[in-house]
């Protein structure tokens, strides 16, 4: 069977499965819709959280980023997993005990202020939409490559699917669909990695293979270091980011992960506080399955790509791949524009090296090299991997289904928090408090539908690259929501004025800094280079400074304003104790 038919078949079957589950688990009450009736088993919830959490960026972009950043890619690995430690110990159990439906609702109650709740809604909607735009783009990319349709057509199909199960099933439908999506995405990710690891090192476990000896001799990481430094790049295990930047980016990703509303809300769905704690652990187990394979995929992909192009000693003319001899996968990816060759010195061979390194450029020009001739988009590394390793077509089709599952599950989770925030926090909480539960449920479904349209539009005209947009969402979550929730639980003295001032400071500072250098929606005001950065911190890492400012401002303002009222102090006391969480909140 040819690749296209096989891909349609496997992706189609996975869609049928998601639909089936959505129909079977239709939401009947707002409780079902927002938090799946609070009856989800912690292991199941962990698996759903993993799928919810692992986005198109994790699946498609991360290993590619690591492949080109080497050690610098560790920020994603530690940052996106370390956040679960914060979540498990600092947020999840207490928010579960509080026991209502949304993050802004908690902030509104704890800070006894509709304004605080509204600021939280604004942060949440902003974070979720920036994030969801990247997911929809990811869906489009995967569809266009594997189903041979345009990115726009892919997008519309993706929107249709999410619409059915997010709008009908609500949280209940999403939870079980996400479990199915996890299974699809993790097999799609690990199967090719196992094959490639075995081919390169004879060891099928990617995590171990990464540190094993190659069948051709020498440890893989040592060989990789030699290979890339010979071409003028930084050593793979050293990377090229400064320590302060690595520190700050890791911190942003950790706090951002813990502050992401669509992840937090998943811990509202388990029956007990105890379950919220262990469920975070299960979520990390399922996430770690992918996140410990990713660095291996990154290293192996970089190794395979480099040795394909540079198949002998650097500087020997015949050691560079002849363009006419390029493999099939190379030709296929050229069509997407994500892989491109430009013969700058006209020798018909591909020179791939670091032409930003002045010492190496000098050497290279002596060989008649006139600049790097290959541009590789990070996003193709995972998707092209099975083709590079000559794996059977069903593996390639499976990877397509996995990429789509990763993007759809995250998009659905995000759309749900957007819609619940609109129906529950904006409408029921502020604008139209008298609506019935049935009307609220309808409003939630309508909001989800509108949110999908907006998300589709943003995916059609993406504000920036997939991974960059996601980094943006993290900075904002780390600088606004995370500190507000954390202080809400662990401090009795933070006042509403303090919390609002803190959130606004963190939000405005972080957004301002990112816009200044990245210029999303507007033209950048300064070049995004280390020389211009404050204290050497890149826009990706600046959320950690925003977070710090949020804490400082919140404490300072709280000192100057009247202490929180007695019933709020009582609320704080209550959420700190697990007993009594079983009682369902009616509303």
């Amino acid at each position: 069977m040819d690749l296209k038919t096989l891909t349609y078949l496997i992706v189609g079957a996975s869609f049928a499965l998601y639909f089936g589950i959505a129909l079977y688990t239709t939401a009947r009450s707002t409780g079902d819709f927002y938090v799946a009736g609070k009856g989800v088993h912690p292991v199941v919830n962990g698996m759903a959280t993993a799928a919810d959490w692992m986005s198109a960026a994790s699946f498609i972009s991360m290993a590619g980023l690591i492949a080109f950043l080497g050690y610098g890619g560790s920020v994603y690995l530690m940052g996106w997993t370390g956040g679960y430690v914060l979540l498990a110990m600092l947020l999840a159990p207490y928010l579960r005990k509080y026991g209502k439906f949304t993050v802004p609702e908690f902030i509104g109650d704890r800070y006894y202020s509709k304004a605080a709740r509204l600021v939280a809604v604004v942060c949440l909607i902003f974070i979720s939409f920036t994030y969801v735009a990247g997911q929809m783009r990811g869906v489009g990319i995967v569809f266009s490559r594997f189903m041979e349709v345009s990115v726009e057509t892919g997008l519309i199909v993706g929107m249709g699917i999410v619409f059915v199960y997010a709008v009908l099933g609500g949280m209940k439908g999403i939870t079980y669909t996400q479990v199915a999506q996890y299974v699809v995405l993790i097999s799609a990710y690990t199967v090719p990695a196992v094959f490639i690891a075995f081919n390169l090192t004879g060891n099928p476990v990617p995590q171990v293979a990464m540190g094993s000896e190659l069948t051709s001799g020498g440890y893989m990481l040592d060989r990789l270091n030699t290979l890339v430094t010979d071409l003028g790049f930084a050593a793979y295990t050293d990377g090229n980011k400064t320590t302060i930047d690595i520190f700050c980016i890791t911190l942003v990703l950790m706090a951002g992960t813990a502050g992401l509303p669509h992840v937090i809300v998943r811990f509202f769905t388990v029956p007990k506080v105890r379950d919220a704690r262990s469920s975070t652990g299960w979520a990390l187990v399922f996430i770690a399955l992918l996140y410990t394979v990713a660095p291996a995929v990154g290293a192996m992909a970089r190794y395979n790509l480099t040795t394909t192009i540079q198949n002998g000693d650097v500087g020997v003319a015949t050691a560079n791949l002849e363009y006419e001899q390029r493999p099939e996968w190379f030709k296929r990816w050229e069509k997407t524009g994500l892989l491109a060759f430009q013969d700058k010195n006209g020798d018909g061979r591909i020179q791939y090296y670091n032409d930003k390194n002045p010492q190496f450029v000098e050497k290279a020009s002596a060989w008649g090299w006139k600049g790097n001739e290959l541009t590789v988009n990070n996003d193709i590394m995972v998707l092209a991997n099975p083709e590079i390793a000559n794996l059977p077509n069903w593996v390639i089709a499976l990877v397509a289904a996995g990429g789509i599952a990763a993007a759809l599950s995250t998009a659905a989770g995000l759309l749900l928090v957007i819609s619940s925030s609109i129906s529950h926090d904006l409408m029921k909480g502020a604008l139209t408090p008298n609506i019935t539960e049935k009307q609220e449920l309808t409003a939630g479904r309508l909001a989800a539908a509108v949110a999908i349209l907006i998300a589709g539009y943003l995916g059609w005209n993406p504000p920036a690259f997939v991974a960059q947009v996601v980094a943006f969402a993290f900075g904002l979550a780390a600088a606004s929501l995370f500190p507000a929730i954390l202080m809400g639980i662990f401090s009795r003295t933070i006042t509403r004025e303090g919390a609002i001032a803190g959130m606004l400071t963190g939000l405005i500072f972080t957004m301002g800094y990112i816009l200044y250098f990245k210029g999303i929606f507007i033209a950048p005001l300064a070049a995004d280079v280390p020389a211009n950065w404050m204290l050497g911190i890149s826009p990706e890492g600046i959320g950690s400074v925003g977070m710090l400012l949020n804490f400082l401002v919140a404490f300072a303002v709280s000192k100057m304003t009247a202490a929180p009222p007695r019933d709020v102090q009582e609320l704080i006391e209550t959420i700190r104790l697990p007993a009594g969480a079983g009682s369902a909140h009616s509303h």
Binding site: M78, T81, V85, T237, I246, R274, T280, G281, V285
Partner: protein, 93 residues
């Protein structure tokens, strides 16, 4: 009078529960910080002088080791918290 003393007993119990929780959280967060920010970032060069198979140790902590520690840490925390909940009589039924 009896109500007040019952109240203050409950408050003491709450306080000691909260202090025990905070101690456990601090312990876990110190380990969390040491394996990631410590071994993986701040001390990465020193750690890299040690080899673990084909891995430099600092690099291994940054790309894999810290993740394994995180997983173990959360389950350790969850288990210890269950014990603390019971000891202070605030566990769920």
């Amino acid at each position: 009078m009896t109500v007040n003393s019952a109240d203050s007993a409950r408050a003491t119990q709450r306080n000691s529960y909260w202090r025990a929780s905070l101690r456990l959280i601090m312990l876990c967060l110190v380990i969390w910080f040491v394996v990631s920010y410590g071994f993986g970032i701040l001390l990465v060069d020193q750690m890299n002088a040690i080899n673990l198979g084909g891995f430099k140790l600092g690099f291994w902590f940054a790309q894999q080791g810290s993740i394994y520690v995180f997983v173990v840490l959360i389950f350790f925390y969850a288990m210890r918290m269950n014990v603390i909940d019971r000891q202070h009589g605030v566990h769920e039924d």
